[in-house]
């Protein structure tokens, strides 16, 4: 019963989405508003329908209905309930349904917004969002049905289908295979949904862009409407990426956080295009320029979202992340091709109408620096795309597969990142229209001179690596110019309004959320870069086999191996946990507990590092081996990761800045408030 309800709710949602797309198109074509309104209602209906489907699958997962193939392959009796729920996105078909559900949520929300002033966009937004939703739902309805049951035929073969095939009996395993142990971590509750949310919410700006193209509105109305949607998409995508890094650092036990794996890159690419878009829309709003470019960027972001989903699921790329593989690849390729071709056709059709109101005047003007910023982001994007498809291309051309890995990305992305940091340091002091060298140099002279202190300190401490000196100089320079923007603004307010410096600073940010939120994001990026450079350039490691009471030294730390215990857990795990005392300058400062979790059901172990975190550095200890060493001896690998916590801190500041920028603006809130006041005053 429940599987059937779930499946047919999906089928119904698919039908409704298709209907909405067609009705919107027809209504707009024939000028029949009733059809468009009907499409809007259908659009809103998709969310409750997909919710029924998702709810049905969750009930099946939680109650352990193993006759459902998906339930049997991602859950097991021993898994706690919260993990059974997260198994919703632990496999191919479930995660596709989850994707559709989120997509439907965003589409419904878009359907419920006030359409008074831009009603002409509605049919096209409905068409694009519903076509995308129908595509994803068609995958679950026709190809990857999460509600399929397991049937055993007379010949002993297993068949997966919703309804009973002839001569087959329902097969009910007494237990499921269980979720991949790597995914059985609280971090997995948030990381994939955040990425998916980021992915699907980028569909909305794309839909509005297409609507603007179709209706021939060349102004920046679509950008103003979707600004907050874009920022929200960006927050989710950023959170997804950062949480993924943190999860890898905490769970995967290789001392790293990012491996330039094709799937990671697939999530990074839409982020890069989206970040470039967020910058270049500012130029369109302020100067009425770069209209073509913004269209290209939003189309690219959408295409990369679908491409990223495709890469993850097609099995085309060798990746550690390819948990969910299947043969739905060609469907994705067809969908991306159709959507991109249609978007580009529209763009070319409207090319002349999108001509900019202004021209670039000065190389140092804010708008031209924004343009260089976009070029650099596109550069990083091309590096990523090239890295991902290079093995396929090399095989196609030479017959031999060649690959490029981490060193390639580091070599190619490093200089581009340095360029972006430099722009971040200069651009805030530049002005729109015209800026002269002299004016710009004057504006940044103090932060520039102060920033030279950073490499000087490094040199004094005996660090001469040129890229470390350059990197930390650029990071300091960018941080100082950004901070000076805050100081300058607050100082000016204080002079003008006689406020205290702190309240002037607060009001400055609140009154110009977008600008200062953006600067906060920049500060977050600087912290991120400081952390990344710290771990990449200064990480040290050591390893050793210790008997109880023996010690291992790394830098200023001495670790003494005290104890090793086994703890059986309820969820069929065996924890093997070591205890090491950490001494610094001969004084006991902490205790770390690296451990290995062995999952009986999956016959697989997971290595969880023991961590000692301070702001300036992490001690990261991995328990490698114990049994075969003979009684009580154990082998450890120890990493010293300097400055790595700046990276996580940077992530927090980054998100905070984006939230500030996305918060409803003072003007609109103020407008509403004053309207309320007026209404109150009326008798």
């Amino acid at each position: 019963m429940i599987p059937n309800v779930g499946y047919f709710a999906s089928v119904f949602a698919f039908g409704v989405a298709l209907y909405a797309a067609v009705a919107a198109w027809y209504g707009s074509r024939k000028g029949k508003l009733a059809w468009v309104e009907s499409a809007r209602r259908a659009m809103v209906l998709t969310w409750p329908l997909t919710s029924i489907s998702v709810l049905a699958l969750i009930i099946l997962l939680v109650t352990g209905r193993y006759e459902i193939y998906y339930v049997a392959s991602v859950t097991s009796n021993s898994m706690p309930t919260y993990l059974k729920i997260t198994a919703l996105w632990g496999g191919q078909s479930g995660s596709l349904l989850f994707w559709s559900w989120l997509m439907a949520a965003f589409a419904s929300a878009a359907g419920l917004r006030k359409w008074d002033r831009d009603r002409e966009f509605l049919p096209w937004v409905a068409l694009v969002t519903m076509a995308t939703l129908a595509f994803f739902l068609s995958l679950t309805v026709f190809f990857e049905n999460p509600f399929a049951r397991i049937w055993q035929t007379a010949s002993g073969e297993q068949v997966y289908a919703l309804f009973q095939p002839a001569d087959a009996l329902l097969f009910v395993p007494y237990d499921g295979l269980g979720l991949n142990p790597l995914l059985r971590h609280p971090g997995m509750i948030i990381h994939p949904p955040m990425l998916y949310l980021g992915f699907v919410s980028f569909v909305i700006p794309y839909a509005f862009a297409i609507a603007a193209l179709q209706t021939g509105r060349s102004d920046d109305r679509w950008i103003r409407i979707t600004r907050r949607w874009t920022l929200v998409a960006w927050i989710f995508l950023t959170l997804g990426l950062i949480l993924g890094g943190r999860w890898a650092y905490d769970v995967l036990g290789w001392g790293g956080y990012w491996g330039w794996d094709p799937v990671e890159i697939s999530a990074l690419m839409p982020w890069l295009a989206g970040t470039a878009f967020l910058h270049s829309v500012v130029v369109q709003e302020k100067r009425g320029m770069l209209k073509h470019w913004n269209m290209v960027l939003v189309i690219l972001t959408y295409a990369l979202v679908i491409l990223g989903t495709f890469f993850t699921r097609s099995g085309l790329l060798s990746s550690v992340h390819a948990f969910a593989e299947s043969a739905i690849g060609p469907m994705f390729l067809a969908f991306i091709s159709i959507m991109s071709a249609a978007s580009l056709f529209l763009l070319i059709k409207r090319w002349d109408e999108l001509k900019g109101d202004e021209q670039l005047r000065s190389v140092l003007s804010r708008e031209s620096l924004f343009l260089i910023n976009n070029l650099l982001f596109m550069g990083i994007l091309v590096v990523c795309l090239w890295g991902v498809i290079f093995p396929l291309i090399s095989e196609l051309i030479t017959g031999t597969k060649l690959t490029i890995g981490e060193p390639f990305y580091e070599l190619a992305v490093g200089p581009l990142l340095a360029g972006l940091l430099l722009l971040m340091a200069i651009a805030p002091s530049s002005t729109y229209g015209r800026t002269s060298w002299r004016r710009l140099v004057f504006a940044i002279r103090i932060p520039f001179l102060l920033s030279l202190l950073a490499p000087s300190i490094f040199i004094i401490r005996g660090i001469f690596t040129w890229y470390a000196l350059l990197g930390y100089w650029l990071a300091t320079f960018a941080a100082l110019t950004t901070l000076s923007e805050f100081c300058r603004g607050a100082w000016a307010r204080r002079q003008r309004h006689g406020e205290s410096l702190l309240s002037a600073l607060g009001k400055l940010i609140v009154r110009n959320r977008r600008r200062y939120g953006g600067y906060l994001v920049h500060l977050g990026v600087v912290l991120l870069v400081v952390g990344i450079m710290g771990i990449e350039m200064f990480q040290t490691e050591t390893q050793g086999t210790l008997a109880l009471g023996e010690q291992i030294t790394i830098g200023r730390y001495v670790l003494i191996y005290d104890d090793l215990q086994h703890y059986p857990q309820e969820d069929v795990r065996l924890n093997t946990r070591a205890t090491l005392s950490v001494y610094r300058h001969g004084k006991l400062v902490d205790e770390v507990n690296p451990r290995v979790d062995y999952y009986y059901d999956a016959r697989q172990s997971m290595t969880i590092p023991g961590l000692r975190s301070t702001l300036l550095n992490d001690l990261y200890v991995i328990l490698w081996e114990w049994e075969s060493n003979g009684l009580e001896a154990a082998t450890f690998k120890v990493y010293h990761n300097p400055l790595v916590n700046f990276m996580w801190l940077g992530g927090v500041v980054f998100i905070l800045g984006t939230v500030v920028a996305a918060w409803p603006s003072h003007a609109s809130l103020g407008g509403r408030r004053s309207m309320l006041r007026k209404l109150e005053r009326q008798p």
């Binding site: 991602v74 007494y174 099995g315 000065s362 190389v363 091309v382 590096v383 031999t400 490029i404 690998k637």
Partner: protein
């Protein structure tokens, strides 16, 4: 450089030229970065069969090899942190693997067939959590003169564990 002069109606041709040239320069620099980084870091990605086909040419070269782990051959010496195992050949072509009945089935067949080419691997380091029978391994390293692959890094995936057929030994209710 002094401030660029422009006419009021739009961009002067000389100015326009400067922007095009500047943009082209940045694009060229990015292209150069990509090409030079590719040349200096590209590695062969071979199947076991392809590695043996290269013969002596493969010796001492940094490359990646793909194969299926033979669980019976896994040996780990914790005192010297030396890990030894063999990988067997599996086709690199996805279509061929599909024809064989999927990755899990192809891996299973390859291990059962005594004729399949094998490559002994030695790695200094910990035993990865995912190293087990039938795991798909991608190893980065060099082939030694003795025909042993000296690995530096191993990437593992277990196709048999997830989204696979429900094991037949489970009871039917």
């Amino acid at each position: 450089m002094a401030e660029i002069t422009t006419n009021q109606e739009g961009m002067a041709p000389a100015n326009r030229m400067k922007f095009i040239l500047g943009g082209a320069l940045i694009a060229a620099a990015i292209l150069f970065l990509i090409i030079s980084s590719t040349i200096s870091t590209a590695q062969y990605f071979l199947t076991v069969e392809e590695l043996y086909a290269l013969g002596d040419e493969a010796i001492g070269r940094e490359l990646k090899v793909e194969g299926v782990v033979d669980g019976d051959t896994i040996e780990f010496d914790a005192n010297t942190l030396t890990l030894r195992f063999s990988v067997v050949h599996i086709p690199g072509d996805m279509n061929e693997i599909e024809r064989m009945g999927g990755l899990a089935e192809a891996a299973h067949q390859a291990l059962l067939d005594p004729e399949t080419l094998r490559l002994p691997v030695v790695i200094h380091g910990p035993k990865p959590d995912l190293l087990q029978d039938q795991a798909q391994a991608i190893i980065t390293g060099q082939l030694s003169l003795e025909g042993i692959f000296i690995g530096e890094e191993v990437l593992l995936k277990c196709p048999t564990r997830y989204e696979s057929e429900i094991p037949l030994q489970v009871e039917q209710e």
